[in-house]
């Protein structure tokens, strides 16, 4: 059959139009969920945890659960399975998730994040991690008395919800408009989905977030390294990032630490985790440790250079990935023991820091969660009973404790020692002691035994839970400067830390240490920037102009999930590094452009960072410029990737963290109306019947064509 020429252009015109038509049909059927934080799959050497959808996504009838009775109805009497419950935060508990899972009636779970001001956490507390965090990777993994938190259950509310393997997706909805739309859709179509009435169509949700990795880290790393395929595929990546460390005074290899035991280490961890991927603003009490340590670093950084030179070496360390079986600290200790920390000595580099080993550490002070000390009767100094059997270690631990005692005396905080049968809580210090029992250390925290924090390692460890309520009527710049209850109490803690470190490093009397005070406005700003809004004046001042621009689009705080290693450090590690440089370093007024402010190639001791500075408004033409400046400090990144991934033996050794994150390619969720199965079957059957009938019809028409159609007179 020849197509008339005039039709051809029409046909070409029709293709894009028809396609556009198809798109709009798609849009008429589906409404996309704009933002979600999915639960993703993680793996260690033996297990996979987290969630995944089926390859083509999971579909379920939406059911809004606002009350416990709604969940019970789903488990007991719902008939139109599978369901996709949308739960308020209060109902997302271990019991409900397990009940729904066991009922076999759900194909996924949606959780409403709720308004930030009204997250409605479960009253009894919520901690989805283990009762004994990082069990097996600390120093007591096979100790007869202390292994598996035998003496003290640190996190009694821990349900282990995050550590289970789910074969359905779970997502946190972070956009209130999505939640409103879903509730509205539920109210219009699904409200009558009860025992007596099952009226279709029903509102349904599809989630697609298929995970690529499976089984365990060993399997997925092996598969990623297979070279049989023409286009190799990576199934998972090791978790990791960068630790941040800096010294009050530069370490130089010209004066090695080799034989002296005169180094003081102050550490805190920066990362946290929640079941839902990369949710920002979680882990408020978890963050108090490193915030207090940063403020203490600022207080000590203000000392004049003469005094700094007279003091012992003081090193601040901010560990990444500690949540996942001590990634950051285990790597640092590994590097130290091999003589590779901060870096192997190289004769070609004139300026290099001296090697640091665990044997150089005289005092180790770790700041753990410290936000809730007022509720638990003061600060608590935890130490390890095993290493203190040696008198030298015991003496040094006692020296740290008396320094803290002196510092708390002058700030009206009480400091206590937990009973002597108690071992160390989960802490980076444990990784140091695991390798070297000669490290004298104390872990400072706000709990004597079990955590004071009822929302440990969950998305509900929110600023409001640690007394950081900011009156709603304040403008952003007022809120930024506002002193919350937490701000007040954390300033005291930071002061205690600064005075303790000063006293340990300088051997001066407690009364002289009392001249050092952490700045309360620094604490206010750090709390606000890390836990409320990352797009804040302090971060805008200390970051590079490029990073500041990246923060502009961020509505809340920075996520603190360790994530997988990229070329550059995580945003959060970068911010901590810049702040530490800002607090410890010196301004270089002669270097005024980013190109001038570059770390020289021969200098491996210092980092030069060009900071964006404060905005300066030019009154004559109302333009804003920035008072950018160059800072130099001995602040560095160090690798925070588990040593397990360095060799196959170590991967199998059970000695180091083996956590990996699965990759995924698609991540979306959409809402649509679904008809009953009977209706779907009828539609399909009718279609098939129509095709068959027309085929038969055509066959007969074809055989009888000479009868039906009279051939026109031959025209050729």
């Amino acid at each position: 059959m020849a197509v008339p020429r005039s039709v051809l252009p029409l046909l070409f015109l029709c293709f894009p139009l028809c396609w556009a038509q198809f798109r709009s049909v798609h849009d008429m059927i589906y409404v996309n969920i704009t933002a979600q934080a999915p639960c993703v799959r993680l793996m260690n050497a033996t297990h996979q945890i987290g969630c995944t959808s089926a390859v083509s996504g999971n579909v379920g009838v939406l059911h809004y659960c606002a009350e416990q009775s709604d969940v019970d109805w789903l488990i007991q009497s719902a008939k139109n399975k599978p369901y996709m419950p949308l739960m308020v935060p209060r109902l997302f508990t271990y019991e409900n998730v397990q009940g729904l899972r066991a009922s076999g009636k759900i194909s996924g779970i949606l959780v409403a994040y709720g308004n930030r001001s009204d997250p409605q956490p479960p009253q009894a507390g919520f901690s989805p991690v283990h009762k004994c965090p990082n069990d097996g990777y600390g120093m007591y993994s096979d100790h007869p008395e202390y292994a598996h938190c035998k003496n003290t259950t640190w996190n009694p509310l821990g349900s282990g919800l995050s550590y289970l393997d789910y074969d359905f997706p779970m997502s946190l909805l972070v956009n209130q408009s999505d939640i409103d739309y879903l509730i509205d859709c539920h109210n219009r179509f699904n409200k009558y989905d009860n025992d007596s009435n099952q009226a279709y169509p029903l509102c349904a949700v599809q989630i697609k977030d298929r995970m690529d990795g499976a089984k365990d880290s060993i399997t997925c790393i092996r598969r990623s390294n297979l070279n049989i395929n023409l286009n190799p595929f990576v199934y998972c990546d090791a978790l990791g990032d960068k630790n941040v460390w800096g010294t009050l005074r530069p370490l130089n290899k010209s004066t090695p630490l080799n034989d002296s035991k005169e180094l003081i280490v102050a550490s805190a961890k920066i990362d946290t985790w929640s079941l839902f991927h990369n949710v920002g603003g979680v882990g408020a009490n978890d963050a108090t440790g490193f915030i207090a340590l940063l403020a203490a670093a600022e207080a000590l950084g203000k000392l004049d250079q003469v005094e700094k030179n007279a003091m012992k070496d003081l090193m601040f360390v901010f560990f990444q990935g500690e949540t996942f079986d001590y990634i950051g600290s285990s790597r640092m200790v590994y590097d130290m023991r091999r003589g590779e920390f901060p870096a192997k000595l190289n004769d070609k580099v004139p300026w290099q820091p001296s090697l640091v080993n665990t044997t150089n550490i005289q005092y180790f002070l770790e700041v753990s969660q410290v936000g809730l000390w007022e509720q638990s009767g003061g600060l608590w100094a935890h130490s390890d009973p095993v290493s203190q059997k040696t008198s030298a270690v015991r003496d040094n631990v006692n020296a740290i404790f008396s320094a803290i005692e002196n510092a708390t005396d002058s700030t009206n905080i009480s400091i206590g020692k937990p009973p002597s049968f108690q071992a160390l809580p989960p802490a980076s210090l444990q990784r140091f002691l695991r390798e070297d029992l000669g490290v004298p250390g104390i872990v400072l925290s706000d709990h004597m035994a079990a955590y004071s924090n009822n929302y440990f390692m969950s998305r509900l460890d929110l600023p409001a839970e640690i007394g950081m309520d900011i009156p709603a009527n304040l403008k952003p710049d007022e809120a930024y400067d506002y002193t919350t209850k937490q701000g007040e109490s954390l300033t005291k803690v930071a002061t205690v830390i600064a005075r303790t470190l000063y006293q340990l490093a300088s051997n001066k009397s407690p009364s002289e240490a009392a001249k050092i005070t952490a700045s309360s406005s620094t604490i206010n700003h750090l709390l606000y920037c890390f836990l409320q809004h990352a797009n804040c004046p302090l971060f805008a001042e200390v970051l590079s102009s490029k990073s500041v621009a990246a923060l502009k689009s961020l509505p809340g705080p920075l996520p603190r999930y360790v994530s997988v290693p990229q070329n550059a450090a995580n945003q959060i590690s970068q911010v901590v590094a810049n702040l530490l440089t800002f607090y410890l370093g010196e301004r270089l007024p002669n270097l005024n452009t980013p190109t001038e402010c570059k770390t020289p190639r021969y200098d491996h001791i210092n980092s030069y960072i060009f900071m964006n500075g404060r905005p300066v408004v030019n009154t004559t033409d109302n333009t804003t410029s920035y008072a950018s400046f160059c800072m130099r400090a001995s602040v560095q990144f160090s690798t925070a990737v588990s040593p397990a991934f360095l060799s196959n033996e170590m991967l199998h050794s059970n000695e180091y963290s083996t956590w990996t994150e699965s990759r995924w390619t698609v991540l979306n969720a959409k809402i649509f109306l679904v008809s009953s199965e009977a209706e779907q079957t009828i539609t399909l059957s009718v279609g098939v019947v129509v095709i068959l009938v027309s085929l038969v019809l055509m066959y007969f028409v074809n055989t009888k064509s000479d009868v039906l159609f009279t051939a026109p007179e031959a025209e050729y």
Binding site: R210, G213, A214, K215, T219, R222, R223, L226, I228, N229
Partner: protein, 101 residues
């Protein structure tokens, strides 16, 4: 090629070539042979080369069935135990499925 236009002795030659070719681990060649020469071997009235063609076709058919049986058995075993075999199975695979053990 239209078999009707080929002489009977050439048909036998062709059938034999396909039969021997199948021994190079090419069971599909045997299948083609069986389908192609089925009419010649079993339906057409007897002719001189028919007995020989028939024997080749039967042997091709048997070989093809044996191959199929072996392959189906292996595929079933492999699919059932792939996850348990771990590394060995991964090394045997050309495409490893995503998201399952």
């Amino acid at each position: 090629m239209n078999l009707n236009r080929v002489k009977d002795e050439d048909k036998l030659e062709l059938c034999r070539k396909y039969y021997y070719g199948g021994f190079f681990a090419l069971p599909f060649l045997w299948l083609v042979n069986v389908v192609w020469f089925f009419k010649q071997a079993f339906i057409r009235p007897a002719f001189e080369q028919q007995q020989e063609i028939k024997s080749y076709i039967i042997k091709s058919l048997v070989g093809c069935i044996l191959w199929t049986a072996v392959l189906v058995t292996w595929m079933t075993i492999f699919q059932m135990y792939r996850a348990d075999w771990g590394e060995i199975a991964d090394n045997m695979s050309f495409i490893i499925p995503k998201g399952i053990a």
